[in-house]
Subunit: 401 residues, 2 copies
């Protein structure tokens, strides 16, 4: 399937959610100290989130979007607060899923009230390792407690309480966001009516663990890492860039890279000495690495990849047995894999769907043919949009789409 | 296919080549200055190589083995010169292909005279970036000229002249060694009678280029790299280890890693903070990284991976057309892929065999079923040994095995 990248809608377009502004919400006692799955706790927790559309009087039209590793709550529209100094990377482009979320789009903000919250342990406003620890008055760094996908979902559920939403019309996420969607269906089965899992399986493979490990190794062995206590703007950029470059390979497919870059060179013949960029694919990766360090934090990368490593819904909800975990689910499930995704391979996604099916749960499984690898969940917006739109359609009866 | 790792033979075993000692050979004028494919030259070139068995009076029983990225000339037997301070990693184990090379083994040293030379630009005795540049009296570092697979093969051919060998009974290599075998068949078609290419294709994919690029990025961004001019023992170990860890993932298969490590943990529950080794697969990779820096050099890693990137026999010998390049071949060819190899995938190896076949060249193609990934060429010694033994058998008539 050829990806047709939709041109971004400008803020004043009728299909754009327009200018957006993030909300900030602080937990207060008795919610604090907020206990975490790994045993740690946080005395102060702030959540940054965005919403689009209007909550219906019956409060039954809410859709929660869970963002992936490097994503954020700014899903759609144009960040009103972005400037040359504040999140400058947002200045000239809309949210990461603007092609899917907006008036008249797949997740139609004329119909739905859409919520997305930045995850705990990240670097986009929700409390994380770069936040100030109230006990010490200094940044947490690696003293920040470990966080898990379960922690994220439990905090999102608490946010929904705060917003007065008892039950979600639907939850949707891709990759690590897809694992949050799975967690929603298992941790809060009565609170979610429809659940869409894109490019995610119940747990990461050994190979996926390995890639994350090498990425963290690069960060932690960068001498500027300083055991996580680097100053702002003086962090382990080279290590973080290497981690991102490596991860980017896992987001594309072999055939997609072949098609996009092949062995094309930027210079016809390499220099006699030196090891600068010669092939197109090298140039692309270096650009991705450079761009990432402008907008992401190394400590957050460690925490979030570890949460990705840890996630295993069979372990959390089935004592190690996926079938048992699947029996908890009450939501209608849509599992979408992408044919060339090798980070969360389609065989694993299909296996999850089969487990849900055997558990007697309503599940639809779709494998989208694409050579864009794991990235397809973000890029194949036409195919993904059609699936989401059909599945979340309130007029739809039953669970087949 | 289950790998059956042969126990190493001790030096005094009748199936071991026993204690070995490397030879050193220096080029002299008019061979020097030795011109290189990328345009550079070297005023002094030393080649370190090992041989096993005896050259027959007719000089027609020579087999050249080409080593892979991190391999060396010490193919079989026990290095007599290894000590606590000199190549200590060789002290307690024999050469890297000891299971295949020796009296009565697949490459039978009672029948064949076996040669393997360390590649130019490496770190095992043949001139490389850590050698002393005669013009400056200092180590070359990155002033060492770029080297190519073509350069390696041309130097090996010159070594054969020196040894009085006009024509090889056979050449064999795996991975980057397999690309040297291909180069032999195309650069010196009259000098090689049989050619075995294991786990190698005519060129590296975009994905392979990408992995090499990230590995080099890690090395070159390690602050101890010092633009290649680090002191011995004070090199960019962390960067080199990261490069090796990453490469190691590409040497295994997803299913092989799943089988070997799965998501097993070394500690039942991770610590509340910190990012040390928790999963078995992390421990394995860190060990591989640590062990590699003990025996390999960062500058050499840059040069050798770049040679791997550059290699494209269609470009070198067919003006970009593989079919044209294949028509140069005169040797009987055996192409062996491994089913789960994703660095040099079987589809690419098979495609090469098809091109040879269409060019009317005698070729046998075998895909060995294995879940050991690219590493299979080193580890599946039973299957590989049987193929080599049959193919190199002097009594065999015709080219089907």
């Amino acid at each position: 399937m050829k990806a047709r990248l939709r041109k971004y809608d400008p803020p004043n377009s009728p299909t754009s959610v327009g200018w957006t502004k993030a909300f900030t919400w602080r937990l207060t006692p008795p919610d604090t100290p907020w206990q975490l799955e790994c045993g740690g706790h946080l005395n102060e927790v702030t959540v940054e989130y965005e919403t689009y559309g209007e909550l219906s009087p019956a409060r039954d039209n809410a859709i929660l979007i869970a963002h992936a590793l490097s994503g954020d709550a700014h899903v759609a529209g144009w960040d009103r607060d972005a400037s040359d100094t504040h999140r400058p990377w947002r200045k000239n482009k809309p949210g990461w899923w603007d092609a899917v979320v907006g008036p008249g789009k797949a997740i139609d903000t004329r119909t739905f009230f859409v919520i997305c919250a930045n995850v705990l342990g990240g670097c986009y406003g929700t409390t994380g390792p770069r936040s100030i620890c109230p006990e010490t008055g200094r940044r947490y760094g690696l003293s920040f407690p470990k966080v898990t996908v379960g922690d994220w979902v439990r905090l999102q559920a608490r946010l929904l309480d705060h917003l007065g939403i008892e039950r979600l019309h639907g939850v949707v996420g891709g990759s690590l966001g897809g694992q949050q969607a799975i967690e929603w269906a298992m941790a809060f089965p009565e609170r979610v009516a429809r659940c869409i899992v894109l490019a995610a399986s119940p747990r990461l493979s050994a190979q996926g663990l390995a890639f994350n490990a090498v990425g963290r190794y690069s960060i932690m062995n960068d001498p500027l890492f300083l055991n996580g206590d680097y100053e702002d703007g003086q962090g382990p950029d080279a290590g973080l860039a290497a981690a991102r470059m490596l991860a980017h390979i896992t987001y594309l497919s072999e055939s997609g890279m072949h098609q996009k870059f092949g062995r094309r060179r930027r210079v016809a013949h390499g220099p006699k000495s030196g090891f600068g960029v010669e092939f197109e694919v090298e140039s692309y990766l270096e650009y991705q690495g450079r761009a990432f360090v402008e907008r992401f934090d190394a400590d957050a990368y460690l925490y979030i990849t570890r949460a990705m490593d840890y996630y295993d819904c069979a372990e959390s909800w089935g004592g190690g047995d996926l079938a048992t975990a699947c029996r908890r689910v009450r939501a209608e499930m849509l599992i979408v894999s992408f044919s060339s995704d090798w980070l969360y391979p389609r065989a694993q996604c299909r296996d999850f769907a089969i487990h849900l099916c055997r558990a007697g749960r309503p599940v639809t499984y779709v494998d989208v043919p694409s050579n864009l690898g794991h990235d397809a969940f973000l890029v194949e917006t036409d195919a993904v949009g059609r699936l989401i739109s059909a599945f979340f359609n309130p007029a739809r009866k039953g669970w087949s789409i």
